[in-house]
């Protein structure tokens, strides 16, 4: 995390990958009723929260208490909001049931809706890093942007994603 906050993308990637199985178990233990895809959506919300609040971890403090506090807060928050939504809407039930038979259990549904609301270029950049695993230089070359501009665009896009998902939950 220390390396991540200093801009080491590889170390940050390892950290997020390492904590994800634990977070997934916590989410699934609490949210069996949401179905696998619903749980994955919650998990992605938690990861987004960890990402957008990463500067509130202090380098001299242990990482675990911070991580658990963020994750717990977000899980409780999301389940409270989604629980209400599921109760109110029958569509959500059928959607969750349909998703239960979906092929890929690590596939979230909400992210696609959110990416659809972003401006196309921002969504393209997020996809470029996520789906295609491109590097900054490759994306910059393909979209004819400077590397700095790609970095800034990705940063802004992730911020809007976090904001949009927040609104979607409410």
């Amino acid at each position: 995390m220390r390396a991540a906050n200093r801009g080491d993308a590889a170390a940050y990637h390892r950290l997020l990958t390492a904590i994800t199985p634990l977070l997934r178990r916590v989410v699934q233990a609490r949210g069996a009723a949401l179905g696998p895809a619903g749980c994955e959506d919650v998990l992605q919300d938690v990861l987004l929260a960890i990402h957008s609040k990463r500067h509130t971890w202090r380098e001299d403090a242990p990482l675990r208490p911070w991580l658990y506090a963020i994750a717990r807060h977000k899980v409780v928050d999301v389940f409270r909001a989604r629980g209400r939504r599921v109760e109110l809407s029958i569509d959500d039930f059928t959607e969750a049931l349909a998703a239960q038979t979906g092929p890929d259990p690590t596939d979230g549904r909400d992210m696609e809706k959110v990416l659809g609301k972003l401006d196309p270029r921002a969504a393209e950049i997020v996809r470029a890093f996520g789906l295609k695993g491109e590097t900054t230089a490759e994306t910059a070359a393909r979209l004819d942007m400077s590397e700095g501009a790609v970095r800034t665009a990705l940063h802004r896009a992730l911020k809007s994603i976090a904001r949009l998902r927040e609104r979607m939950i409410e």
């Binding site: 990861l47 509130t56 403090a61 996809r127 890093f129 996520g130 992730l158």
Partner: protein, 210 residues
């Protein structure tokens, strides 16, 4: 989108984020400048300001300033999950208890009649309006800075932001106010600050959720 794809996108976003404390200090500097300018334009210091600051009256300014520092530290700790806040909270609680104890002693000595007499002045209304007015820029600055943090208790964080703003405004207003009786300063300033705290507690859950 699959979770590992999201992780790749998150990991690629390596732009550094500014620490909450840094944002808070910067926002508070700007807000204090705004409040001080408004104070210079519409209030101005009392004529005998030099003599007042050289006497015990300066406690009127010093105590709110101490409250400001302690409540800022508490608000900052609250914005960092996993950090212990009991130390900051205890210091702040002690600092709040002192003026309250002083008020009780003064009230016991001079009785309710003394309290009514001290507060029967036009200064009371001016005080109750001025402190919240001067506190508004500070409250906005605190809430904006705190919203980049990760408070697990938005209501408490908002109230603490209100305490920061209210004490800062009281310290500024004390340079104008020429009523120095304990039975005026403690209840009047206390009520004005409490109003800002309530406003902060109401705004907190609306602006500090994440």
């Amino acid at each position: 989108m699959r979770t590992e794809e999201l992780i790749s996108a998150l990991a690629a976003d390596t732009l550094p984020r500014q620490p909450v404390g840094w944002r808070m200090r910067r926002a508070m500097l700007v807000a204090t400048a705004i409040s001080l300018t408004a104070f210079a334009l519409f209030w101005g210091p009392r004529p005998d300001i030099g003599a007042a600051l050289g006497s015990l009256t300066m406690l009127k300014t010093l105590v709110p300033l101490l409250l400001l520092v302690l409540s800022m530290a508490f608000a900052l700790a609250l914005a960092h999950p996993g950090q212990r806040v009991t130390g900051h909270g205890a210091a702040l609680g002690a600092m709040l208890a002192l003026p309250l104890a002083a008020f009780m002693i003064a009230l016991a000595r001079e009785g309710q009649a003394g309290l009514v007499e001290s507060l029967s002045t036009r200064s009371l209304v001016i005080c109750l309006l001025s402190i919240p007015a001067l506190a508004l820029p500070l409250l906005v600055a605190m809430l904006r800075a705190l919203s980049s943090g990760a408070s697990l208790h938005p209501g408490l964080s908002g109230a603490t932001a209100g305490l920061v703003a209210g004490s800062g405004a009281a310290a500024i207003y004390s340079l104008y106010c020429d009523k120095d009786m304990m039975l005026f300063v403690l209840p009047a300033y206390g009520t004005a600050i409490a109003g800002v705290v309530l406003l902060g507690a109401w705004l907190g859950p609306r602006h500090l959720r994440w």
